[in-house]
């Protein structure tokens, strides 16, 4: 039984009234056209006329029920409020551990490790080319003892740890973490957390230093999905987190953000199916990490549309029936690229609005940025304020009282439908370009990204897109912020950690296992069992990563701009 919105209304009368009313606007508006951040033209007002063929149960429904537009749980925040998971990591594992303890004591409910560029690229801190970056942009996790130090004294059997590290490096870092988890006396079957493991994050969000080719990165990402989830070695672990946040930071719009994310998920699902795995064996653990950007209503509509797209994709394309696989669960991060170096305290306001949009949009887990991020890695004071921003939302605003409060807004429902339609169109465009891996190889995806960079630059520099402190309301006098700097001795500490490990471990065993890994790579088998053995014995990140590079070679992105 369905009920059409506006069924009881006299739509002809509303239409006549609207026509009459719209005359009042003629010549009185500030601009000839109003658009969302994604360039969707919007009218001054939305009415029942915009939803006249809108079938409520089919298009919106109830929370925890298909198509999940109103939320993935029947109770939403009346049952459990979103997880506060602050992404953090710098200097050394010990210093990161201290920051995590502070956040935990202050009410954080999940951990998330930002790793440094060397961890991401499988580099040794002794290497002069990258030595100056040890711990400057994340926590250095080059070996198992580093992982152990990062989570020392924290209740990791009760609280999940997200490792924000991608594909090739993720196979290694996750294995180190799993070994630490077992060495602390826990059963891997109880281990909770996430590997970001998103090849696209380090292809178009950032570029990957000394990268493998996209096809092998996909293979390694799926090795983690297969070993952790399908083979049930770490059944409570989320093996991959499609981080559309990182793509969005490049300047693409909300529609592209979702389309890139879903295209990426499709590529991984198809690869797993190609290995002979069933979708029911792994899809329940596929996670998403979206951006919370500036266009308030568009972001809310984006989250709602994402849930509907995922539901249809799972049901119609993959024939899924299990509700756990149909519901789109996601984490958000407020958009770092919207923060300004100029008048940095203004960033506090931006972050709060972005977080509010995500909370209204029904997010499951949240990271709020710090106001000083356009200047440096966040200081302790700035991180604490970001944490408190979420706590004010949770405790003081009462937005947690009612599920999907924007549902039924003529504008939001119309915009949700509009975004969904545009996402399907863009997914078709990516498919025509050969799918995600192919479009990375041909450079098509890089062209889409660089054209976004340039469009945004032109819009900001022409003043069409207005940013307080950049192209309007600028001030001459800036209050200087205290810049947070990471430990300058981090490289020495990490080199010593590796030297000590190499002196203590069974180097012959490591050699044998590395030879074994070469064979595994040559035969294109799942690397995880061997990497688990290697990291247990004390192999460092670079030794394993270099084996991948030796066998499969390095790949350079085809960047056209």
């Amino acid at each position: 039984m369905t009920s059409k919105w506006g069924e009881e209304m006299d739509l002809d009368k509303i239409e006549a009234e609207e026509k009459e009313w719209s005359k009042l606007l003629e010549g009185c508006e500030r601009k000839p056209e109003f658009k969302t951040y994604s360039g969707i033209p919007v009218k001054a007002l939305y009415t029942p006329l915009d939803l006249k063929d809108h079938d409520y149960l089919e298009k919106v429904g109830f929370p925890g029920k298909p198509p999940y537009v109103r939320g993935v749980h029947p109770t939403m925040y009346r049952g459990k409020v979103w997880t506060t998971r602050m992404f953090s990591g710098f200097a050394t594992p010990e210093e990161t551990n201290a920051r995590w303890r502070m956040l935990y004591e202050e009410g954080q409910t999940g951990f998330s490790a930002a790793v440094d560029s060397l961890t991401q690229a499988g580099m040794d801190p002794h290497d002069r080319r990258v030595g100056p970056e040890v711990g400057t942009d994340g926590v250095p996790l080059y070996c198992k003892p580093a992982l152990a130090a990062m989570v020392e004294g924290l209740p990791i059997d009760k609280i999940g740890v997200a490792l924000v590290v991608e594909d090739a490096a993720a196979t290694i870092t996750a294995s180190m973490y799993f070994n630490v988890y077992m060495e602390r006396g826990h059963d891997l079957k109880t281990c909770m957390g996430t590997t970001q493991n998103d090849l696209l994050s380090m292809s178009i969000g950032c570029l990957q230093y000394r990268a493998l080719d996209p096809a092998h990165r996909l293979k390694l990402a799926c090795d983690i999905i297969e070993w952790c989830t399908a083979d049930k070695n770490v059944p409570r672990w989320n093996p991959i987190n499609f981080t559309t946040y990182n793509y969005r930071e490049g300047g693409i719009d909300a529609v592209q953000e979702l389309a890139f994310g879903f295209a990426n998920a499709i590529e991984h699902i198809n690869h797993m199916l190609g290995r002979g795995r069933k979708i029911e064996e792994f899809a329940n653990r596929l996670a998403f990490h979206l951006s919370a950007h500036n266009d308030f209503f568009e972001e809310i509509a984006k989250y709602r549309a994402a849930r509907r797209v995922w539901y249809k994709l799972m049901k119609d394309t993959y024939g899924v029936t299990d509700p756990k696989l149909l519901a789109f669960r996601f984490h958000i991060q407020t958009a770092g690229s919207t923060l300004t170096r100029q008048q940095p305290m203004v960033n506090i306001v931006r972050i709060a609005y972005q977080a509010l949009a995500a909370a209204i949009g029904g997010v499951q887990s949240m990271h709020t940025n710090s106001y000083d991020e356009a200047l440096c890695l966040p200081s302790e004071e700035a991180v604490l304020l970001a944490l408190r921003t979420q706590q004010v939302l949770k405790e003081e605003t009462n937005i947690t009282n009612v599920i999907d409060p924007m549902g039924g807004s003529y504008y939001i429902e119309w915009l949700t439908d509009e975004i969904e339609e545009r996402v399907w169109d863009y997914l078709g465009k990516i498919e025509n370009a050969g799918g995600l891996v192919k479009s990375l190889e041909t450079g098509w995806l890089y062209k889409e990204m660089t054209s976004s960079f340039n469009n945004r630059r032109r819009m900001i520099e022409s003043g069409e897109e207005r940013i307080v402190g950049i192209n309007c309301y600028t001030t001459e006098e800036e209050t200087p912020l205290r810049v947070f700097r990471t430990n300058p001795d981090a490289a020495k500490v990490e080199m010593a950690r590796i030297d000590k490990l190499k002196a203590e471990r069974d180097n012959k065993k490591i050699e044998e296992l590395l030879t074994k890994l070469r064979g595994v790579c040559e035969r294109e088998e799942n690397v995880m069992p061997t990497v688990m053995e290697l990291t247990k014995e004390g192999a460092i990140n670079q030794e394993i990563y270099d084996t991948y590079r030796d066998i499969w070679g390095e790949w350079k992105a085809n960047i056209v701009f």
């Binding site: 990957q208 000394r210 490049g250 200047l375 890695l377 960079f453 630059r457 200087p480």
Partner: protein, 135 residues
Amino acid sequence: MEGVIRVLMSKPGADGHWRGSVTVSSAMRDAGMEVIFGGFQSIEEIVETAIQEDVNVIGVSIHSMAHMAYAKELMDLLDEKGVKDEFIVVFGGVIPEEDVPKLKSLGVMGVYGPGTHTAVIVNDIKEAFAAKAAT
């Protein structure tokens, strides 16, 4: 001043934040400069490419806070090769204001943080290029 300004745009280290380097490269190209996009390069590779390609400007984009170390290495190597005066060196990225004078004292001509209008970068380079040509 005659001639097209040639620029090498590089990223030393392993940090992969690339949006700034491409955005500024596009703006330079739009302003009539010739841009060689070096991408990830070691300091040695940057200097080698700059000499081989006979560029006028070396642009370095860094978002990892390791700018002081890389700047020192770069300027020392240019000095060692006796070519320090041949290039206009500019830095961009997440670089604290208080480090700008330190970078300039090493011989870096300009330092551009997030939110800088690309016209400022282009104009500074054009002026420095003209001044250099005049000497």
